[in-house]
Subunit: 463 residues, 2 copies
Amino acid sequence: MTLDIVRFIAEKRDGREHDEASLRGFVAGVASGAVPDYQVAAWCMAAYLRGLSPTETAVLTHAMALSGETVDLSSIPGVKGDKHSSGGVGDKATLVAAPLAAAAGVPVAKLSGRGLGHTGGTIDKLESIPGFRSALSIDDFVAQVRSVGLAVAAATERLVPADKRLYAIRDVTATVDSLPLIASSIMSKKIAGGADVIVLDVKVGAGAFVRELDRARELARAMIDLGRRLGRRVAAVLSNMDQPLGYAVGNALEVAEAAAALRGEGPADLVELSLELAGRLVTLATGEDAAAARRRLEGLLRDGSAAERLRRMIAAQGGDARVVDEPWRLPQAPHVREAAAPEAGYVARLDALRVAEVALSLGAGRRRKEDAVDPAVGVVLAKKVGDAVERGEPWARVHARTPEAAEAAAAALQAALALSAQPVPRPPLVHEVLEERLSPALVSDPRCLPRPDRVASGRSSPP
Amino acid sequence: MTLDIVRFIAEKRDGREHDEASLRGFVAGVASGAVPDYQVAAWCMAAYLRGLSPTETAVLTHAMALSGETVDLSSIPGVKGDKHSSGGVGDKATLVAAPLAAAAGVPVAKLSGRGLGHTGGTIDKLESIPGFRSALSIDDFVAQVRSVGLAVAAATERLVPADKRLYAIRDVTATVDSLPLIASSIMSKKIAGGADVIVLDVKVGAGAFVRELDRARELARAMIDLGRRLGRRVAAVLSNMDQPLGYAVGNALEVAEAAAALRGEGPADLVELSLELAGRLVTLATGEDAAAARRRLEGLLRDGSAAERLRRMIAAQGGDARVVDEPWRLPQAPHVREAAAPEAGYVARLDALRVAEVALSLGAGRRRKEDAVDPAVGVVLAKKVGDAVERGEPWARVHARTPEAAEAAAAALQAALALSAQPVPRPPLVHEVLEERLSPALVSDPRCLPRPDRVASGRSSPP
């Protein structure tokens, strides 16, 4: 079809709904480059201000998912899982939850982007492991999911190219913060990733992309709805991101902490969130009772099965699997400096965003796409909100490349800490979990992408 | 200043008002190319949907006017006039009204674009005169206004470059039809053109850019307000454009008709509108009583002074001034074919847009910027709305380059005609005239651009 792009933009400008064919034509033009940047930009602003209907969002998501390479996991027996986080500080939950779910019999296939922002993404964290290869061909990725039950690899440029271009334009035209555009961006990549069941960790709070619970809930619902329309079962865990998750913020430091959690020595919040996320993957995939799944996962954590699954994944991707038990094999920063509490009290606030900014200043994250991250540097907290501290007691340590950087970071870090003379309650970790109640027909065969003509109807299978 | 362009776009996206400095920074970035197309496009869509306040519109207009070369007419004694039409079919009123006003003692300095659309612009019409040069340097333009009292020249690329770029982007992003953006585009060029008093002919109807009287009135008021804020006295004539103005549609054909009007042989509607437009220029410039100005202009038409002024302008710009009296010296199309009335009746409708489409198909206009126009071709009506016709009587003639084109055009033209068995009243020509009542302080020295710091206050002079 030939799309009259000016008329298409005018349609959204006037608040009208696009028909499926023109929306697919637009996405094809975004992916191929046939629609120039300025027209994409004008449409993004119109969509930001006028909104997209659930049907439009589903068509957009589906068309973007099919705009490039897709992963076909259908040759692997069973229901395959994937996990996505909307991004948080110290969020290494994938490294714990994915091996847990895999150990419980749910093959986990996760393609992940590199972090652009304060701290590295999951791929950056894994690449701090000596020898680890994140660049797998799709064939190797699928083969590893089949043999190991677990693979975490870098998304290639060829995966969902329409979203890549759309996001790059949104980023520079003040149109990122649109709920349907965010939901379709995330879900198009999950759909292209090929898994049947998807658990979304939607972070809420000072250190998250979404700061209000209401908006996180709205985003979660939109993504669950997209899953329903596109034949994927989706659950969303709304988790607190006011303070960092666990204690470690920085790539190798986070791998070490995740490994500790898998060895039964991890921080309580990381373990708890990982059990929650893995539990949802298991119940979505198997229909198993939640309490039973939880008991099973706790057993797999205790008996070392989950840790073993991570070791096998690291080894399969060329990495040194000994890091799971011997964290000193990970890159170490040469300079460590303590941040001491200025007075006695209870930790009232540990501002995740400020901690992240300090980690970024140390080199743990990227300011621009082309920046390299330093795998060794970062921040390790010694306290969390609710803990008591003595005056002068170290409440965090910075791991830095130079003494000057360590000094500056330790000083800057103090702004992240707020103390209270009164005891402070520990904040909730998981706000709530959203999950669609599904009809049996949808559960029976969630494997394939629905035919395009089914997307717009809002049902991927007959009810 | 350095403008954070993403923040600037977000400001308009959220419906907030830009401050003057950032809006000026944006326009500078549009003119220089520092702001890329996609960010301009996103801003245009945000401005389209969120609107611009009168102050923002004035700052935008002023900044655009100053974004390139400007014309300084201050060395010419008296109050200088300019005239603009929002574009209509068969609209050759400039060729009559401008010489009239000049003959009445108001120097007229008009820079004009080339027509992009169904029929040529004023420059295209003038260029059908053998030898006529429309490309004048600004110095030559000003010198001719001083010596002849009248110059009509092509706007150069260096005049209002910010508007040129903004318009080119709006044109392909469905953001043309925004009232403040239309008003600022027109008025920025008038401000840069240097005249003190400006008469706007805002066309309303089937063959016009604006189809509803309400919207035309709103546009006219916005432009009058811009004039007030930027130290220009502006009147707006809202005129009917359901049927073509006069009988001729096509470049040389329109020059011939305008010359006939100046010789006292012109169609009544063209003469009437031209007297109205010239009259407003005279009253704005001199404060003369409207009825007295009208009588004076009728005399200048009758005694040949206005025709003489056009001859002098044509001669000054290298053209063959004899065309004013000897229209056969203009390019003639070799094939003329009549369109006959299919039955007897009264002309109920002469669809200006359809007539224009036929003229375009004959080659009188441009589909793309780079197209050449054929000066000789076009349509000449024999009837206007309200006239009686006999069955088989010619109601129009097409002037074409080939017999085939003539045949096809005459057939296509029939769709423009609608007949009624009952007598049809003649439609009004001028719907209304809008003009700001000005304070004496504003009248006293309307010559100079206000200082930038006065624009935002909404007054160009103390009250």
